[in-house]
Symmetry: D2
Subunit: 385 residues, 4 copies
């Protein structure tokens, strides 16, 4: 099983907040001790991760003075150097503080929007200082419970103004940073604007600098809406917009669980890994999850190890699937009549289509062999072939 040992070249990253999670939930108080950032860096390094990401306030408390901020950042940088850990991504917390209770970029109050943009710029500065290449933006309070309170068209306008400002700022500062927007359908708000990766991809096309903005799809967030994560990530890749990804797991259509990657929907996790590997995705494999509230520090480490280990096991399953003669033979048959490029419009092609000799009934009677294909897939997944 030594093959499932994570190494920096696997590009696994975790959020500081994932190991910082102390097990508080809507019905319970904290159960675990504080896990200081520097200790997290060391732990993740020892476990084989490549890097660590964070929200501004995971590292620097919102109330910190500039002096405290500098001391904290210096100490953190030293830890990164000591343990050879990178910070490939940084993000901003626009949801914890009461000031954002009705949104940050979509607040009905101008000064809140301004403050939010300012806070995001400061986070970007910190990211740039630590070498981050991606700035993730999750608008955790951009939404409503009371639809009478905001015109959603205006809210999108405000949202766009905020993102546009950040893009201009990044350009102005000459930072080599891309922006990745993260969707979520609800929780903590009743409904969040731009609730799916698809909605985010559409929103990006309305921005001033779409070329520097992409998405950060999260498994659990899409599954909260009952959507197929594999299809959503494929659309992001199709659009050239998969800038980052949040790996975790979730039972469909319920509260945000942020479970260990692959712990609930193994088959869905397999296809997601297959897509990332087959597409030669070069970005980070970032885990945004946390240990169950039942766990202590040892359980937090088991959680982190498990995320990476399951990814590597699934990566191995992908190799087996791609090398399985029976599966690949079936797929060749299935794809034999696929054709390509046949649907380009021209007078000739139009004539061809209009005169298509096609036996609809015979074609409709063909079976596709998908039960067998799926069974073989499941058996690869269970390790019996």
């Amino acid at each position: 099983m030594s093959t499932y040992q994570p190494k920096p070249k696997d590009h696994f990253t975790f959020g500081l907040w994932t190991l910082q999670n102390r097990g508080r939930d809507p019905f319970g108080v904290e159960v675990r001790d504080v896990f200081p950032p520097v200790e997290i860096v060391r732990t993740l390094s020892e476990l084989g991760a490549y890097g660590v990401n964070f929200h501004d306030n995971d590292l620097v408390p919102i109330e910190a003075s500039l002096q405290e901020r500098d001391r904290i950042v210096a100490e953190f940088k030293q830890a990164l150097a000591d343990y050879k850990m990178k910070v490939p991504m940084v993000t901003v917390n626009l949801f914890t503080d009461p000031v954002f209770r009705d949104g940050a970029f979509t607040s009905n109050r101008r000064q809140v929007r301004q403050y939010a943009v300012n806070k995001a710029m400061t986070a970007i500065d910190l990211g740039a200082e630590l070498g981050a290449e991606v700035f993730v933006l999750w608008g955790g309070r951009e939404g409503t419970e009371v639809d009478a309170s905001k015109d959603p068209r205006q809210a999108l306008q405000h949202y766009a103004e905020g993102v546009n400002y950040l893009c201009e700022y990044v350009r102005n500062q000459g930072y080599d940073i891309k922006v990745a927007l993260e969707a979520k359908p609800n929780e903590p708000r009743g409904d969040l604007y731009l609730p799916t990766t698809g909605a985010m991809l559409a929103f990006i096309e309305t921005l001033a600098h779409p070329e520097m903005v992409g998405v950060n799809p999260e498994v659990a967030h899409e599954q909260m809406s009952g959507l197929n994560m594999y299809h959503q990530v494929a659309q992001a890749l199709y659009a050239g917009k998969l800038f980052h990804i949040d790996l975790n797991d979730q039972k469909f259509s319920r509260f945000d669980q942020d479970l260990r990657f692959g712990s609930e929907n193994l088959k869905a996790a397999f296809f997601l890994v297959k897509l990332l590997e087959d597409a030669h995705y070069t970005g980070m494999r970032h885990f945004d999850a946390h240990a169950y509230r039942t766990e202590d520090g040892a359980g937090v480490q088991a959680f982190a190890r498990g995320c990476m280990r399951t990814y590597l096991i699934l990566q191995d399953k992908v190799r087996r699937f791609n090398a399985d003669a029976e599966i690949q033979g079936l797929l060749r048959t299935i794809h034999a009549e696929q054709g390509e490029g046949t649907l380009e419009f021209s007078h000739d092609s139009l004539k061809t289509l209009r005169n298509l000799a096609f036996d609809r009934v015979a074609e409709g009677a063909r079976g596709h062999g998908y039960e067998q294909l799926d069974q073989l897939t499941v058996e690869v997944l269970m390790g019996v072939r």
Copy 2:
């Protein structure tokens, strides 16, 4: 209550298929007699509708000869003329026939894709002949149960080829027709590609002629994913892409129910009507729903009347909401500090933001008055103010 009497100027339309629905479902056979298209035209006209829409095969059976087709269409045109009914939209059935069992535009088989495009062009021709301005495309079989069977990136490529071909065809023929894509998350396939209106809006931006392609959001389809229809339609309006709309209702996160408009989620229906009215949406108010399986012909008429009547009642509620002094007073307070245009990037604005004097704690302590606002909304809805 005569104010709730629908008139052609209200622009209500129904699909032929909605009144044709014979009550068949996965566990039961048909319970109602055939309702011939000509009779439906008469009935809808008498009920006050503006027009009727259809899938090609709602009117012309898939097996019809050209001669039969011409006879059927002529008879239908006569009925439209007799009863002063329009056909503002036409669509194509790419899901009933066994030939589409694994998709139409995304089939793994080239000839199926070609046949599907051809069928869609024929439907467009028929629409053009009858004066339709919108061609709706719902890819009811574009998806999978077995994710091993298709690369979803290639499926999107195939999907785009199909839509691009249709756009070129419309341009080539000089038709004044726009294309409206309709999303659905699942059913009849395990998962459908482009499952939400957001995903469709993003997909449109990858097409060859995005300017002639928009969306046709359906209430029930978004609610199947637990999404807020009001927000999704707002995004379509924000993107200038609301070309058509399907009004109906649905309990969240379950099978596609296609219930009478406003029969389940009154508050959601109210905000949707409010958005369409406030935005001065000029398109059709199209109902895509059907009577319960418990109903006979009289029930089908009650269903159609109910859809229109509830829309008009909600339209009246919107007027009351917009004229309610207490509500509007609350909203003025809520929006008092909204400001506009303050987030355009410049050296000056950057300096302003960086030096923002802002009392985060005081702002965070403010209450927003949304419980009161929502209660007043609910009371308008219940007719007690």
Copy 3:
């Protein structure tokens, strides 16, 4: 609108915790000040409520000394007397403290189970002291994320042991208190045991004293599973087990929202009120919800007022529905052939059934008039008839 003014005889109650809610959620810290129990009693009394309910630790902190406890309880009793407020129900908090992180009655650790039972007895003692007639038990941590950790059959056995112990204790002490079990499908645990009111009703029949145990269905908890609350409460009434009820609201199939009663699903709320009123339910109308995180103290009061006001408006709608000649006429037709008591087994009835003259096809062709019935219901709800 003075008719919608709540009065003590309406038997509205709130949990202390509902007004105590400070707006903390999984992604945000507290936004509202502490609202002391005595102040809550006064406020609720002024708003027209009948009483106030609480978890042990809503009133007495878990760390309080006996002396502090006595001081707090005395002060609280004085407030109840001063403001003529009752405590019809008491409950126990078995979920906040870390000790319950893997369950209370279903913990894998004997001492945790013993401690939980002891804590519950102390809560019952306090309830008895204050005149409570119902002890609600919500096992907020009785469940799992990791199904390998517990045999669910043994967990149910442990759960039953705990409830049985409490029943014996109540009998032993001679308290006039009934136990009401509250179900929830998930959150905070991945899955909670006995996830629906139906499951609770079944569990009760396996207890040592089923006659003293009933249920406390909560609107939001059933709707989290997409279930029809009206049907679930009807089953509880049918079984003679509706001992208490938690009124609030919730969008289906998502996180526990605890929204203001009637704020999301008006039609569902209407039928629930109709059932309680038609069945002459004599228990409390208890609200278990809280104000949005956007609110301050004024919003908390608006929330509480709104819950009661909406109940009273719906009560009025029920009267109108029951008095509406057209609706009642339709219902008489629908129920005309209902018959009663015809299905008691005997040789004669068997012969009757075996020789039933019945025109299946004719009966199958009948329409039921439900579209019309539902439309009229919706119109009553919207106040246009």
Copy 4:
């Protein structure tokens, strides 16, 4: 892999309807040929199944004359004998025919209820003739879309009358047959009464002969409500009421998919198999699912083979889990302080509880090791340990 070859002793059964399924769905017509019952018997026998179950009308059309019925049954019996196949269960179709459009046992029309009971008795007679030991009852139309149409308390009363009549009939005829009730939350009705296995278990306790009535939980039906099937079946076992089981699969919170067992939620399927095996469940492993609409006859066979094969693979995983030294060591630690029988009420035990020396804070700080336990479970499932 020969170990995964099904044999009659494995007690696998299929419904006739599962292989009869012709791929019709709400949006598409039939795609597969008729598969005659006698051919199904042969096929299932060759695949290694133990028996075949059916609804009355799967075998005998509703319009069949007595003579036709006798011919069909004789031919079927011969096939059973020829291929050594059993009929362990029979059920009745109370949902396909239009006569049941508003329910069978809960219809508002007395004659429909009488007809339904009569039809069920005839099905029971047929089952008895063929040696069935279980009669499954799924009330596929017992529910509503329009809650104004029925008092749900009366509906339950009618439901109980029907089941009671059948029980008396079975007793009267001296049949050795038990009744198993099957729950489903919705589809084809908007909401079905008694929507969960829990609700059914509770309902059974209100019947005249609860001792002869149990449940038939179906994986997909519980998962449509987002419930944990493992927990629901455990409750049925706990109550001594698991008389039959329907194995299949389903994505959570959507339409009824009836997918191949284990094809979607492998971990959930594993725990279900574990429960059945650990509890030494002696009943049938019945599959109620069908092949995808993409399949032809070969695909239908692949589907049936896959169901059984996956069960056997999971059975093997259960053996490995139960024999895994690291997992069992972890479980011994987790359960070390479980204790038993400590919560029986007595003056002594009360005194013990009241004086419990217990360090709440220390206990609350303990970690439970569940991340590690779950990771090891997932690794057993993936075949890497």
